[in-house]
Structures are given as C-alpha cells and as structure tokens.
Symmetry: C2
Subunit: 306 residues, 2 copies
Amino acid sequence: MSSDTVDDAGVYLLDEESALVFTTDFFTPVVDDARDFGRIAAANAVSDVYAMGGSPLIGVNIVCFPDGDLPPELLAEILLGSREKMDEAGAAVVGGHSVSDRELKFGLAVIGKVAPERLVRNSGAAEGDVLVLTKPIGTGVMTTALKNEALDPEGLARVTAVMSELNRSASAAMVEAAADAATDVTGFGLLGHAVGMAKAGGVTLELDVASVPLIEGAMDAISAGYRAGGLFSNQHYYRKFTKVKSRADALLLELLNDPQTSGGLLVALPEDRVEVFAAAYAEAGGERYWRIGRVLPRGEKPVVLV
Amino acid sequence: MSSDTVDDAGVYLLDEESALVFTTDFFTPVVDDARDFGRIAAANAVSDVYAMGGSPLIGVNIVCFPDGDLPPELLAEILLGSREKMDEAGAAVVGGHSVSDRELKFGLAVIGKVAPERLVRNSGAAEGDVLVLTKPIGTGVMTTALKNEALDPEGLARVTAVMSELNRSASAAMVEAAADAATDVTGFGLLGHAVGMAKAGGVTLELDVASVPLIEGAMDAISAGYRAGGLFSNQHYYRKFTKVKSRADALLLELLNDPQTSGGLLVALPEDRVEVFAAAYAEAGGERYWRIGRVLPRGEKPVVLV
C-alpha cells in the first residue's frame, strides 16, 4: 500500500481468458484549467492499465471538493474533461464518490481488462533488451514553474499536451511487439521507475542520459530553480540504487528524478522487435518514441547512468 | 456523479454469465479507534456490492493522510482493520493510492462480481412487496454524540458493531429469496433511500414508523441534540417526497433522516418469500431483521409514513 510498493495496478484473474487490472489515482490540480485537469487526471488514471497491456473498461470518479469555496461549475468542467478522456480511452464512467474537503483533489478508480497471455509486467526485463520511452519528461518542474507563474503559455500548452496524452498507442504497440516488461513513469520519476523495473527483473538498466527526451521548457524550469517536492525525495531515495558514469549536466541528471504526472511508458523489449513496436506504434497513432538505454545482467547497482 | 444520483454501484456486463459491480466510498473517521475505523470503512465500501446481490472480489485502499501530523502506525492500524474486514468478505486488497492531506480520510474502491440473473437493483419494488431492513438506524446521531464526547462506552460498542457488520448475510438471503429490489442505507438516511427506491420503481413505499429499529442510544443522542449535518440536508431535501400520516414522536421521524454509515439493506420482496429470506438469512449467520413497511401503487408521494 505504501508509495514504495504500489506503482503498478492490481491484477485479478477472472478465468483463463481474462484478468482484471484495478488501479486508482487522484491528486491536486496540476494546471489551472479545470477541463484540462480532468483530462490529465483521467489519462493518468488509465495509464496503469495501459502499462500492463490492458484496456480500460470502467472508471468511477473520486472527488474531494471545497463546496463552499469553489463554484460547482468548476467541478462540472473537471468531470467533463475526465469524461472526454475516458471516452477517448473507450471506457465508461459509472459514477463516483465525492467528499467535501478543504483542498480540491480529483482522480479515478479504473478497471481494465487484459488477456492473461498479453499481460505485461514490470518484472520481465531481460539482458539485451532495448529500453524505449514514449513521452518526454519534465512535467514536475514545468508544473512547479506554472504554480509560481513562471511558465509561458507555449510551455503550458506543451506540458498539458504531454500529460493529457493517453498511453494507448504505446500500450498497443508493446503488446504487439510482445515486450518483456513495461511500467508507466509517474511520481518516482524516470530513474525511480527504472530502478523498480531493474529490481523486479533482477537486472541492471543502463540509461543513456543524453538520449532521454525532455519537454521543451523543462530545462529552463529547473535552471530557474523550479523543483517539485517529490524531486528531492526521489533523489534522496534512489541515489543508492544508481551508479553514475555519465558526465551529463547536473540539471539533466536531476531531471531523471522529476516526478511525472501521466508520464509515458518505459518499455523493455528485444532489439529484434523494436521494428514491430515502431510499426505498431505508428499504426496506432503514436508519434514519437525514444531509445534511451538497454538491459544488462545485474551489476553493482540496479541502474547505471552513462 | 452528484450525491443525488450515485448511491448504488456501477454495473458492467462482462459476458452473459458475469457482470462487474464497481463502487467507491471514503470518509473522515467516525470513531476514534483506528482499526475499527478501517473495519467500518471496508464494511461500508463493500456494502454497495452486497446491495446488488454481488460478491466483493478486490479492493484498493484510498488514503488521504496528514503525514506530518499523525503517526504512520495509525495508518497501519486502519489498513489492518480494513484488511481484516475485506478478508471476512472474501475480497483481496491489491494496493491503493495515498495522498498527503490535512484531514484524514479512508475508504476503498471495490470491484464485485454478480451473475446478471441474480443482480438486484433498487428499481424493482412491486406493489404488495414487504419491506425488510437488516440493521437498526442511528449511526449518525450516535457518532455525532461521540465527537462531542457524549457517548458512553457501551453506546460506542453498539454503534461500532452495527457499522462494522458486513451486509453479506443479508445479501445472500435476498438473492436466495429472489428479492425484487434492494438498496443499502447510507448517507441519505432510511427515508432518502426509501424515496430513491420508490422513485426508481414507480411505486410508493409505506413505512410503519413504529417498527423501524433504532440502535440503543440513538434516541438519547438525538434527544440530547446531537445531529449530523447531513440530517438537516436530508430533511430539507426529502420532505417534499414524503407524506406524513404517522403520529410518531417528532424525534423518531427525524431519525429517519439520520445519515447512516455502513447501514443495513432495505429489501423489497413478495410476502410469500419472506420465509425463504428469513431461513436463508439465519443460515448465512444473520441475526436480526425487521419488517418495516410495504409497497403500494404509486400514490401522491413516493413515501408515506404511517
């Protein structure tokens, strides 16, 4: 239940042909626009299902709302954004639960379905696999800049687009390519989720720092000193699991610990299936992905940065 | 999504033989003991599944926790209580989501399974049906008395026992008796949920006020002036749907609006199946139920109190 152990969804085998994936996530607003927040929260909530190769079926809204302080229209906008994104994901919203709270929080509990033989866990990364990432990072520093009114409209549009994007195409592609392992990149940052995948698989992940994609504006945000609180705790926690051989810029290394909201999928798959992945990804409407490293036999540390 | 429309769980048909029931509920502590709070929250969360005739399969914890202000051991106790109750319900807890929050809140999102032909909705109440209630009411006034340090230990033990009790036996019995309709009695109070059942079924529910069971101590609590905030809003909202012919004590009438936490099932079933219900309920370990009224053709108001 603690944040250390729960980043993937729970799985329940219904019968030989189908399993349920069950996940929940909710948080305080990361952007000011209510409808965008709803979209982002929904994209984020279904992401755990996609990370396991499943399809979202149904969601229920989870709402903490300051009834007296905020207009009900704002909640209506959030729910509208959420529903739009759930529609796009092909999932139904079947209700929800609302509590009165001092601080607005929103998210969903989501059920997905997956055929057991298509289930992708975070534990299967194998020596020789290539590591692929499907979204650039930097949402934490950029939304922190936004909170401090230090993000320009173009930067806001870019980070909003990244966070609102479903991981559906990436999920379809990795299932098609029979990927060995996957995880979605969220609160623990790229490095933290890489450590999780390495430990679960008993391997070492080598990340080529220079090839890690950044959202345009992320480097400016961290250069200007905008860091989410979670960046520091990730840094503190994952340092001992990481060997740094890279001579990359210190700020770039820090960004590996930036907590992501609705980040992309980190996928491990054999070199000879990357082409299948790429073709399936494009076919499903995916636009960009990056090769950011490879899987080594378990070495001194779970992750090595080169 | 509003509190007006969502008291039952969402249902999703998987195939001809099985449907999923999906529900979520969480709230601030109703008792001081952390483990009891966990038990109550879990019993309450699975109640929606039982109300539809289903079996809880899996749950995920939903935690809002003031990290700095409360010791982590307290959260551990809550989770332990929740897991005990989920074990009793035969459901697995497969993770959860935790956010830092100023005010402690806990609950679960729960998936249940139900065979479509056994699904009991709140809309099927038919003229001539008997109304049965499986738990006494009064949890709102008694927990309000508790918050004001005006509930004696025996009263606390009684209300805790009522709120921690699973609706499993009641659910099994109503399915066995092929009940026409059911709902669990929660935040809208007995009257509010009766109105919901009446409106959904296009009938009028006649409640015999004198036969409505009260938790011992509930009348003392309301006499002493302890009322939950929700009691007033329920009173205000459901007044227009209710015809009062009863000459019962005003306080007793007020208690029909008392918001319940983890209340019992209100079940509508044909007179000639009450014996089947009673036998199945006892067989499943149920101890008490009360006949509290009957279903009439739709009259002037959805509910009439006699």
